[in-house]
Structures are given as C-alpha cells and as structure tokens.
Symmetry: C2
Subunit: 195 residues, 2 copies
Amino acid sequence: MALGRPREFDVDAALDLALHVFWRKGYEGTSMADLTEAMGITKPSLYAAFGNKEDLFRKALDRYVDGPGGYYQAGLQKPTAREVVEHILYGAVDAMTDPGNPGCLAVQGALCCGEAAETIKQELAARRAKGEQDLHDRLARAIAEGDLPSGTDAGDLARYVSAILQGIAVQAAGGASSDQLRKLADMALRNWPPV
Amino acid sequence: MALGRPREFDVDAALDLALHVFWRKGYEGTSMADLTEAMGITKPSLYAAFGNKEDLFRKALDRYVDGPGGYYQAGLQKPTAREVVEHILYGAVDAMTDPGNPGCLAVQGALCCGEAAETIKQELAARRAKGEQDLHDRLARAIAEGDLPSGTDAGDLARYVSAILQGIAVQAAGGASSDQLRKLADMALRNWPPV
DNA sequence: AGACTTATCTACCGCTTGGTAGAAATCTCT
DNA sequence: AGAGATTTCTACCAAGCGGTAGATAAGTCT
C-alpha cells in the first residue's frame, strides 16, 4: 500500500536522535543544521517527515515522555504513596544523569526564552503543571485511602515533590553525579511524608 | 578629569535594564536588538560601554547577585542555621516572583544551550556551585558550633537546600505564585533540619 | 510501459544574528 | 582657538537562521 518513493531513514530512530539534540541544547540552542547533522538527513527530508522545528520538538517531547521520562507515569501506578514518590525520585535521578544527556528536557528545553520560543516555553510549563496535577491526584487518592495522614494537603505535597524533582534537574544540568543526587532523594524520602 | 565627549546615558541604569532583559529571556533568547531597545542606546554605544554580549551578561550577572539576588549572601550572615535557611528560602520566593521577572537568572540564564553560549552556561553552573559551597561552609560551621546536630552531613544539607531553591526557581519560571511558593518554603522549614 | 505518488537533493530565499568602520559631535586641556 | 580624547550616529558586514522551490530518483499501481 506504500505509494511513492520509500523513505530511506527510520523515522523513529531519527526522532530519537533529534530528541537527544534538543535535550542537550534546548529548543533555542538547537539549530536545524544541528538536527539534520545528527539525524543524518537533509533539511527537506526533515521538514517533509516532521514539519517545522516546533512540530519536531513537540514530537521529540512526546517521545521523551514515553521513553526516558516514562519513570514518571510508571511511578504513579505504584500501590502506595511512598512507593510512588520513591520510584519517581530515583527514576528521575537515573534519567537525568544519563551520560551525554544531563538534566530534564521538560525543564531545560525552554525554561525562559525569546519571543520565537514562547509557545514552546508555555507548552513545557503546561506539561510540568500537568505532571504535578497527576501527582496531586495520586496523592489525594492516597490520603483518601488512609495511605497518607488525613489532613495532609495533596497540593502542597505535590508541589514539594515537584520542586525536589526540578531541583534534581537543575543540579543534574550543572553536572551533579548520580551518587550525589541519590543522596538527595534519600534525604527527601527519610523525611517522607513531610509534615 | 573626564576627557572626551561625556556619556549621555547612565551606565548603571542601562545595566539594570539589560539585566532585566537577560532575566526574562535568558542569554540565548536575548538579542543585541532587544538590549539596545530596552536600554535606549545604540549598538556602538553598548559595545563601547560594556564590551560584547558575553561581557555585558557577566556584568548584568554581577549586578543581579549584588541586587535582586542579594538575599543569598545576606542570609548566610544570619546567626543560626535555621535563620540562614529561612532567610534564603523566603528571600528566594520574593525575588523569584518579582512581577515581570519570574524565576532566577542564575538558573534560567543558560541552563542548557548551543555552543555559542557554552561558556556562559558554565559560568552560571560555577556560580551555583559556589553558592552551594558557601552554604555548605556556613552549615558546617553551624554543625561545629552545635547549632545543628553533630553527625549531620553539611554537603548533603547544602545540596538539599540548593535543590529546593532551584525547584522554587523552576516553579516561579512556570508562573507559580508567591503564596504557593511560600507554602513550599514553609514545608521545607517545618522539616528542618531534615534527618 | 507509463502514470502517479512520494522522498531526496542542490540551491536558494529573506531575515536576523553579533559585531564594526568611519565620520561627526561634544567635551577638556593648553 | 585649537589639539586631543571620547561618544554618538548611520550604515554596513559576513555568517547563520528557519524554511522552501524545483528538478530528479525510486518506488507502486493499472
């Protein structure tokens, strides 16, 4: 059923390569030339397969969330609040200290930027907010189930865990080792749940 | 003693304006045109007074550390570890929710970037590391003085506070309110010192 | 074989980027 | 008044940006 000349490259593999460039350099710091070089295709091929730079970034972001960032949604499935937070924190440490790709795409992809990247910045902020909301809902369930002390504020707790995660992301971007960050996660978990 | 034609603009005021542009847009997201427009001077005047873009950013960063970011060094002077952390956390919340300039220049100025901004990224990472080191030294003193439990690891503690601060920075960049962030600081302080 | 569809390539587009040359203007000093 | 120092301005530069036109190649369909 495939009409026309067949594509000579693997779309998913190319998208992975693009993802890693965006991850390392951020949206603004990545040029189309960076992408085509890393992906091993020419610009017209890139545009035909993925649309423009913004489209490509969104597709790479989706892939990130499902791939390297998958620890987050996986963590939310854990049976207890403690296991949820544990899985997410340690998962984040591992993902964000991946050699060659330090940090978190959702944080450093476009934390702040010029006008041209404004919509990407907002998309990332919205995704972070959505992640926090998902965690909120999961913790609210834990409170309802008696898994966490009643009277706990799920919103405050979710924001606290998010802040720790984002702190880990910034530290990782600055070159912190996985050992150092694991000790950070350990400390947060020794004090879990915070009062 | 002033030879030559006198400068027609106030260097410090112009530097302040440049600082705010870098703060909002980051190093890469800021163009020379953005700067000259905000500062109300032409490009040759800018280059004559501040050097190139990188020089200007460094000067703006110095001004940031002494001005809006001054809460940090001020906090380190407080008499007890608790007051130090309290001052730094609440100071960060206030500084990073400054209307029109959300977030922290040292975090979002260049968390990740293309090759052209690499040295700025490293400079910012080094400054964050230096800040963490200063806090480490202050907390180590507190441990030595019996102000914090002996056996506490100053490095772990400093990294923990840094992570919270950087979490606040990311949340602020994403639009979190000062009320929300204050509750975050409250929670961290209720659990201080973490075991 | 020939029509059709799609991918690939080279070459290019207009625009913005950081940065500067060179002349004119405005001050101080003698 | 004139020399010297410095700032200011307009106009410009090469290089890089994101994005595309148009021809050609490589498949599938009838």
